[in-house]
């Protein structure tokens, strides 16, 4: 690895949630004898059931990001994420809706590229009497007034907070993509340090969004990305953060790569990626297949964290060379109201070549662990 080259790792926000909440809670909950299920063996997938919740696993999330455009051609980005974090596998009084088996967390962001405006909101709640729920027989997850529900081949996501709103209909144009080994995605060398992970990498999107300050909802269209991941014990102690990329190329290919960063500044060897063809065929990418170089950095005035802000990515097997830059520099979330963790997750765009032909691309990038430690949140 060259000096300017970064081998950054990706892991979703929920992974550090898994660490901070999970480790904390593990230590304080009396052992009931029962254990959370570990992601060890390849999973036998069955859809739409597997779009639903897997409560035997400690951590689970449903992750929507997308790049949108209104009728005037103005660009927007959004993120709507639901996390379920297991707290107590066998609560004393499971019939009582207030008893805490899981905590539900959610983050909602909107990016308006033209004025460079970024807004975010967060929710955190127990299941309670109807506050939060993730169905087990299909995708139907809600936290207070934010929800994601799949009916037939369409996912409807809704969120409203103060002045920002989102109401989108997402229709997958490619089949489910299983990451890693048939959906078993390794996050470390040890057994159980894995998660089950699949995506809809290309969802045709349309609906409305409302930015803070604007009076009326804006009609938008675009492309979304959906991740669903569940596991119990993924991150190792020495893993300090991750970088995750989801990119739609104009030739119809979709690319997902993640790098887990370790405290010694090396990259977790199990970091990997997936390349999805225009027809939906998926190829697993090993760490050796990917190289990334950070070309610029951006310092957050709010948190003081310095994040990479321009990347050159090279995918050797497909000869993809692209340069990505954020559409808005400041897409940092300071999530004091739920997780208490600061991270950057935002819309990006770029240009490059794929198989020697010029392509444009857009997508989302997530970076954690750049603004202080992610430990000791609560």
């Amino acid at each position: 690895m060259t000096s300017g080259e970064w081998r950054v790792a990706r892991k979703r926000t929920a992974l550090w949630l898994a660490v901070i909440v999970g480790v904390i809670l593990l230590s304080c909950i009396p052992s009931s004898g029962a254990e959370w299920k570990q992601a060890v063996e390849p999973w036998t997938w069955s859809f739409p059931r597997d779009h639903g919740s897997h409560p035997d696993f400690r951590t689970e999330w449903w992750y929507f990001t997308g790049n949108l455009e209104d009728t005037a051609g103005k660009r927007y980005g959004y993120q709507l994420t639901f996390f379920r974090q297991g707290v107590n596998l066998q609560p004393k009084d499971p019939q009582n809706p207030w008893s805490i088996r899981d905590l539900y967390l959610a983050h909602f962001t909107l990016t308006d590229v033209t004025p460079g405006q970024f807004s975010f909101a967060e929710h955190l709640s127990r299941k309670g009497p109807g506050f939060a729920q993730a169905a087990q027989d299909g995708m139907d997850v809600h936290l207070l007034n934010w929800s994601a529900k799949m009916e037939g081949n369409t996912v409807r996501i809704e969120a409203r907070d103060h002045e920002m709103e989102l109401s989108l209909k997402l229709t997958p144009t490619k089949p489910v993509v299983l990451h890693g080994e048939h959906g078993l995605s390794k996050k470390g060398a040890k057994q159980g340090q894995s998660s089950y992970y699949y995506s809809f990498t290309d969802l045709q999107t349309d609906g409305t969004i409302k930015m803070p300050g604007s009076q009326f909802p804006i009609r938008v269209r675009g492309t979304s990305w959906f991740d669903h991941e569940f596991g119990s014990n993924q991150l190792a102690q020495d893993q300090t953060g991750w970088d995750w990329f989801s990119v739609h190329l104009s030739d119809g290919q979709d690319l997902m790569i993640y790098f887990l960063r370790r405290s010694d500044e090396s990259v977790e060897p199990t970091s990997s990626g997936t390349l999805v063809t225009a027809t939906g065929g998926a190829t697993h990418l090993r760490l050796a297949d990917i190289s990334i170089e950070v070309l610029d950095r951006w310092k957050s005035q709010r948190s003081g964290g310095t994040y990479p802000s321009k990347w050159r990515i090279f995918i050797r097997p497909a000869n993809i060379k692209i340069v990505l830059t954020p559409l808005v520099s400041n897409q940092e979330l300071v999530t004091g109201g739920s997780t208490g963790v600061t991270y950057w997750e935002g819309a990006v765009a770029g240009t490059g070549t794929s198989g020697g032909k010029r392509v444009t691309c857009e997508g989302y990038v997530e970076m954690t662990g750049y603004a202080g430690s992610i430990g000791g949140i609560f």
């Binding site: 304080c28 207030w98 009497p129 506050f131 207070l144 007034n145 103060h162 109201g337």
Partner: protein, 828 residues
């Protein structure tokens, strides 16, 4: 400093005892005002602060019109487009094992974060270095957070056990609570279990973006209140109590200013002769004025400052008393006495100087007008005092006439009533001069019988020095009248309450405790079915809104109540319960007067299923709430409000039932098995009387303060008289008076003034009591108190008058005995 002023000020240390007495007079007056006013302000401000802190950022709240709200409604709140944030709350009181009541909030820290970030942060961000502690609040069944001050007070640290009447709770941390209202927090899941409220919450606090939209969806069956409305309703609940406190503060002000006035006047009158001397030596009029004012202001300044400090000390005692009363009568409040501020000192000084100036102004005006030669003789003014007394009495009569007009004006604000009462007191006090002249022969006879010649001379002295004695008697009379009036009013009120209890509280046993321990419905069913039991009355009392104002609704078993109690009805008898059994209501006198509702009218209350029309079947006397009480049958209550809570259960047994004792024991056993608190009829009555007595503790302390103030008044007057007439003692001596005789004379002067003051206070005090009952209470509380004559207040006041007047004479007597041998008649 001008020489004239210096010569005046030299007088202060020269007659140190009188100066000190005057100083104490001013200090006591100021202390009474500062103490009372500050306590009232502190208690009410602490109430606003507590309400503010506990409301947090909530713009509104939603709850059922009566009783707890089903938690299933919360899911709809979560999805309502107008709701930005919501937080379900269980808001109760918890009795600690040491007997203290504290506010208890059951909250969901996740949802509450948007409403009360300070509290939620305390839970979620607490002790970051100790993950084990961080979530123990959520996961421990008995885990509570205790506010820092309470924890300090109870010496609780993390891990300690907080003993309460609802069991032991484990303290997992503390938090800062700026409201000063002791607060215990628990996770809502555990709070539901602790208060047997599974499936229910008390209310949800909301942050709304669109109130109108929200109301259209939720108004039917729910009570939606904005923060402002809640605040107004809380304030409205305290309205009459606040008025009462204001009245007491005004009373304190009245007595205080009167005393300071008295003191300042003595100061001026004493200096009449000195002013004559100075004037004759060439001092100019304005120099005399400056000298006087300096002296008065020095007294006012030091006395005011001292009074501020004493008043502040008083607030520490009075604030707690007021807090207890508000807690007993309205809602939980534990006001903390306000911290010391130099403003208290400034206020005291301002008050002392202002009142001193007011008191000194008239006599000062008289002195500077007086011819220096006449002033030199020192007693000129007194020779005219008879005429002056009559002039003052005429003014008094005029003020009394105004007072009558104020008191008889119909439908006026309560302040007009207060003004009427105060002007009555002022008018009556103006009559003392004439009364002293009128009773002089009788007094002469009485004191003559008691002390022969010295007695007669004492009576003469009182008559001769009307300028001073009339004011002293007036001040003393006002204080004693307050003692008689407040005592008679409180006594009558207490007797009315006893009568009311006799009419309504006829149960053998009362199980459960309002606000602390509700009675499970199953227990009621169980008791009801007990063979041989006369009846069981499931009582529920809850605050609702009527015409936007807080009133109370009580639910009873009308048949049982009809059979076993004998309510005091304004009209009719127990047949008034018949319409109640058919779905109507009976209303309290306070409700009827407050809302001008009559028997046969229909009242409309917002119920759980929308507005409910209820026909009024009768009006009963009631002293439980000045806001108005509607009583309905439980079946009606359940239909209208759907609230199954039972606050207390009264068990009735026929008096001639042979199994009476056995039944009582059986109910006790069953209640004990469920851990329900119970009281016998006599215990319940005693506890009500205790609340009553606590409520009037503030009034009683004001009464005591009035006496103290009066004591200084009369002591100052006697001492002044003595100082003024030192040379007279020389004359008495030359006429053959012994030391003992002069001491007797001084003593009888004090006694004579005390007797006249007391006799006057019997009449004035009784009228005051009647005014307090028929004007103030009726107008501010809307209830009729029956006047019961009780000798107690009169006897106590007589003893007080005797002790105070003799006590006030003690120092002058001691002075007489000590200085008599040196007394000369040099000047004569």
């Amino acid at each position: 400093m001008k020489i004239v002023t210096k010569s005046f000020l030299r007088y202060l240390p020269r007659r140190l005892s009188l100066s000190l007495l005057q100083l104490m007079g001013v200090a006591c007056g100021v202390a009474a005002v500062v103490g009372m006013t500050m306590s009232a302000i502190t208690a009410l401000a602490s109430f606003s602060k507590a309400v503010g802190f506990l409301s947090g950022k909530a713009t509104h709240s939603v709850q059922r019109p009566a009783g707890p709200m089903e938690e299933k409604a919360l899911a709809d709140l979560a999805r309502d487009p107008s709701v930005e944030h919501f937080s379900p709350v269980i808001d109760r009181r918890l009795r600690l094992s040491n007997g203290d009541l504290v506010r208890f909030l059951g909250i969901d820290p996740f949802l509450d974060r948007a409403i009360r970030p300070e509290i939620a942060d305390a839970e979620l961000k607490r002790d970051t270095g100790n993950p084990e502690g961080a979530l123990s609040f959520l996961l421990g069944d008995d885990a509570v957070l205790v506010d820092r001050e309470l924890a300090q007070q109870l010496k609780l640290s993390s891990g300690a056990i907080l003993q309460t009447t609802r069991g032991s709770l484990r303290v997992v941390g503390t938090f800062a609570n700026p409201s000063g209202d002791p607060l215990v927090l628990m996770d809502i899941a555990n709070a539901q279990r602790l208060f047997a409220l599974q499936g229910f919450v008390d209310r949800a606090d909301l942050i709304l973006t669109d109130e109108l939209g929200f109301r259209t969806r939720w108004e039917n069956g729910f009570l939606i209140q904005s923060g402002r409305q809640r605040s107004i309703i809380f304030s409205a609940m305290l309205g009459a109590f606040r008025l009462n406190l204001e009245a007491l503060s005004l009373l304190a002000l009245f007595v205080g200013v009167f005393l300071i006035y008295n003191t300042a006047m003595f100061a001026v009158v004493n200096r009449r002769r000195d002013s004559g001397v100075l004037r004759s030596l060439g001092a100019r009029r304005h120099e005399i004025i400056v000298a006087f004012l300096t002296e008065i202001l020095i007294l006012g300044f030091i006395g005011g400052a001292l009074g501020g400090v004493i008043g502040y000390c008083l607030t520490r005692f009075l604030t707690a008393l007021i807090g207890t009363s508000i807690t007993d009568l309205y809602f939980f409040l534990r006001p903390e006495p306000s911290a010391w501020s130099s403003w208290i000192l400034f206020a005291g000084i301002g008050l002392g100087c202002g009142a001193s100036m007011l008191g000194g102004a008239l006599p000062l005006w008289e002195i500077v007008r007086t011819d220096p030669v006449k002033a030199l003789s020192g007693r000129v003014a007194d020779r005219q005092s008879g005429r002056n007394a009559h002039r003052t009495s005429l003014a008094g009569l005029l003020i009394l006439a105004i007072s009558v007009i104020l008191l008889t004006l119909p439908h006026t604000h309560i302040y007009v009533g207060f003004a009427g009462v105060f002007s009555f007191l002022i008018g009556a006090s103006f009559l003392t001069g004439t009364v002293l002249v009128a009773v002089h022969p009788g007094l002469k006879w009485l004191l003559g019988r008691m002390g022969r010649l010295p007695g007669k001379v004492a009576a003469g002295n009182i008559r001769q020095n009307l300028g001073r004695t009339a004011v002293a008697v007036a001040a003393f009379m006002v204080a004693l009248s307050m003692s008689v009036g407040l005592g008679a009013m409180i006594g009558s009120f207490r007797q009315s309450l006893v009568w009311w209890m006799g009419s309504q509280l006829q149960g053998e046993l009362y199980i459960g405790k309002i606000g602390e321990a509700d009675v499970p419905e199953t227990f009621y069913e169980e008791v009801k079915r007990m063979p041989g039991l006369g009846g069981a009355d499931p009582y529920r009392k809850v605050q609702v809104l009527y015409r936007g104002l807080p009133v109370y609704v009580a639910s009873v078993d009308a048949s049982v109540v009809q059979r076993f109690t004998h309510f005091g009805w304004l009209k009719g008898g127990n047949e008034n319960w018949e319409p109640v059994k058919r779905g109507g209501v009976v209303i309290s006198e306070s409700f009827a007067r407050r809302f001008k509702v009559k028997s046969g009218d229909t009242v409309v209350l917002g119920g759980a299923h929308g507005p409910a029309e209820l026909k009024v079947g009768g009006i009963f006397y009631d002293y439980t709430t000045e806001h108005g009480l509607l009583m309905m049958d439980r079946s009606t209550f359940l239909r209208v409000f759907g609230d199954h809570t039972i606050n207390s259960l009264a068990a009735f047994i026929d008096p001639d039932n042979p199994r009476r004792q056995e039944l009582i024991q059986e109910i006790k056993r069953r209640a004990e098995a469920r851990g329900l608190p119970m009281q016998t009829q006599s215990q319940l009555r005693a506890s009500i009387l205790k609340v009553f007595d606590n409520t009037f503790a503030v009034t009683r302390s004001m009464r005591a303060l009035a006496i103290v103030v009066a004591f200084f008044g009369i002591a100052g007057a006697l001492l002044t008289l003595f100082m003024e007439r030192r040379r007279d003692f020389g004359i008495y001596r030359s006429l053959g008076f012994s030391t003992g005789q002069i001491a007797t004379m001084t003593l009888l002067e004090g006694l004579g003034m005390g007797v006249v003051s007391y006799l006057l206070s019997i009449g004035v005090g009784t009228i005051l009591a009647i005014l307090l009952i028929n004007v103030i209470n009726l107008r501010s509380f809307n209830w009729t108190i029956f006047f019961y004559f009780d000798l107690g207040p009169y006897v106590w006041t007589a003893i007080t008058a005797l002790v105070a007047s003799l006590g006030a004479a003690a120092y002058p007597i001691w002075k007489v005995c000590r200085t008599y041998p040196q007394m000369q008649i040099r000047e004569e």
